[in-house]
Symmetry: C2
Subunit: 331 residues, 2 copies
């Protein structure tokens, strides 16, 4: 069935039957606004992301269910980076008229499934037709006790720099797709269906461990750069410490230049955070509890030293690019 046969209000009606509101939702889908309650005394966190067909995704590369899941994860990742608990999601969709209702339902099934996994409720949105590409706009709200909010600007010289998981997997999958090849299924999943580190971000914040935190969406160097700018510090990153997956290492063995994808590829949706090295033993216990590998990749230094990357021999390494910028020529 084409969406034009179901109609806008038919689509919204079907959607309302699929979602459950959850705690704190006074009014979900179906009025002019959602009306929501937050835990008393907690700060409201809000983030918004656009995903545009042909810019952020291609429908011939991803299945709609994964696309729905990813639309949730990339936003929840920002809530996680502030130490927050995800609560509410809003979805704006600009839909080409020829879209099959089944494709949209698979997208929505993935969206609602992922929202439930992170404990967030879909409580509002907007649907309209698009004359061009499929457009996805997601706004996520979470909350955090004010004293546990983690910002980008708190890194201090001497702090250790940690990242979760492994880097470059998503960018390597994209690199393969752009070359017309089929990526390794595990890598493909890291690209099409990433997991936001929601539990980890919350646990780190609740333990008051990070001095600064950010999620890795633009690539390690670009996002670390944001932390350095906000904190007024420099950093030394050791290439040999950057955590890589077995699939990534296998590709790297054949093509050493791929290391750049782990530094500047983007879309890792891992967390990068800094902490006082005295807290590292506590951090290791927390990592074991949460079940997410955490790896120290470098150290915060004085602002005069800037951002340095050291290769395996301890020599300065110069990456050819620093990260993703949407308006760069050729980006």
């Amino acid at each position: 069935m084409k969406l034009s046969e179901l109609g806008e209000f038919g689509f919204i009606r079907r959607l309302r039957q699929q979602v459950s509101d959850g705690p704190g939702v006074r009014l979900g889908i179906g009025d002019d606004c959602a009306a929501l309650e937050l835990p008393p005394g907690e700060l409201l966190l809000t983030t918004t992301d656009l995903l545009i067909e042909q810019v952020h995704f291609r429908r011939d590369w991803t299945d709609p269910r994964s696309l729905g899941r990813k639309s949730v994860a990339v936003n929840i990742s920002d809530i996680a980076a502030m130490g927050g608990t995800p609560r509410h999601l809003f979805l704006g969709l600009g839909i080409p008229a020829a879209t099959e209702a089944e494709e949209l339902e698979a997208f929505m099934a993935g969206f609602i499934e992922a929202a439930a996994e992170y404990g967030a409720a879909l409580v509002g949105g907007d649907t309209c037709r698009s004359a061009g590409p499929l457009l996805i706009s997601v706004t996520a709200q979470g909350s955090v006790p004010a004293e546990e909010l983690v910002r980008r600007g708190g890194a201090r010289p001497g702090d250790a720099i940690y990242v979760s998981g492994t880097l470059g997997d998503s960018a390597l999958a994209l690199d393969r797709l752009l070359a017309g090849a089929e990526p390794d299924p595990w890598l493909a999943r890291r690209h099409h269906d990433p997991t936001a580190r929601s539990g980890l971000g919350r646990a780190l914040a609740a333990a008051r461990l990070p001095s600064a935190m950010i999620d890795l969406s633009d690539g390690l160097l670009a996002d670390l750069g944001h932390v350095l700018e906000a904190s007024g510090v420099g950093a030394r990153v050791e290439l040999g410490l950057v955590p890589l997956s077995p699939a990534f290492r296998a590709a790297l063995a054949a093509a050493p230049g791929l290391v750049e994808l782990a530094l500047a590829g983007g879309e890792d949706y891992e967390l990068l955070f800094t902490l006082d090295p005295r807290h590292e033993p506590q951090l290791q216990r927390l990592a074991a509890e949460v079940g997410v590998p955490l790896t120290r990749v470098g150290r915060i230094v004085s602002p005069e030293e800037g951002l340095q990357i050291l290769d395996l021999q301890g020599h300065p390494y110069r990456p050819t690019r620093l990260g993703f910028n949407h308006f760069q020529p050729g980006a």
Copy 2:
């Protein structure tokens, strides 16, 4: 200057210099999320809207400053319809690479100017390039004391139905533009730069007058239809009572069929609300204080009677269409 020369982060940096955060904003633009405080005990209201070039607007018909202002107003209108106070705005922009930085700055100037007029702060967003049309995604947050929240579902038989302002002006301007004609400047402004009835919605809610309220974005009949559905009631609307502007009346005298634009044209961004007729004297005092004309257009009836429209002779009137549906064939 093209946006590609300024760059994504250059654009965001410029933007940060232009916005001021205002009360309750712990963290505005520049971290993974905005971190916000709401007045204790108030509900969080949130709404989101997509505006897509060629679907919702044409850049050859509107100037960028008005487009920025309208992007704010259409969202604030939803906050007003719940009786809320506007607080925060989030802006997602998908920007064609060839866009002039000057055009974008005019858009942003309009956006920030309108936000300030409604007392809301721009505190976050997302910018990326668009391979196709200009895409605007706005999320607005407001708050309302829980006991003053106005929903769609509270209309009761016997309630009077009121609308603010005049209806059909925006649709008439669009009708002219679609016909290749230049609309009357006042009508054009009602279309390109509408005013959300923020002060009115808040005052009505604070006085606990409306039993139900909605903003008129899809047209009188469609939006009244949402109220009837949510409330489980019917309504009788008198065509002769629908408030029309002098410019609209002048056009109507030449082409009586245009009356449909006042019933089903959409984009009025006026408020429709219902209230117990015993409160009408109090309502008239409030209207005078707020300075917004309010007009009774009909009455809520039992659900069996459905939605009836009566013409000037009191006979049933059948409109040819009921309102805007984004996925209707030919919509």
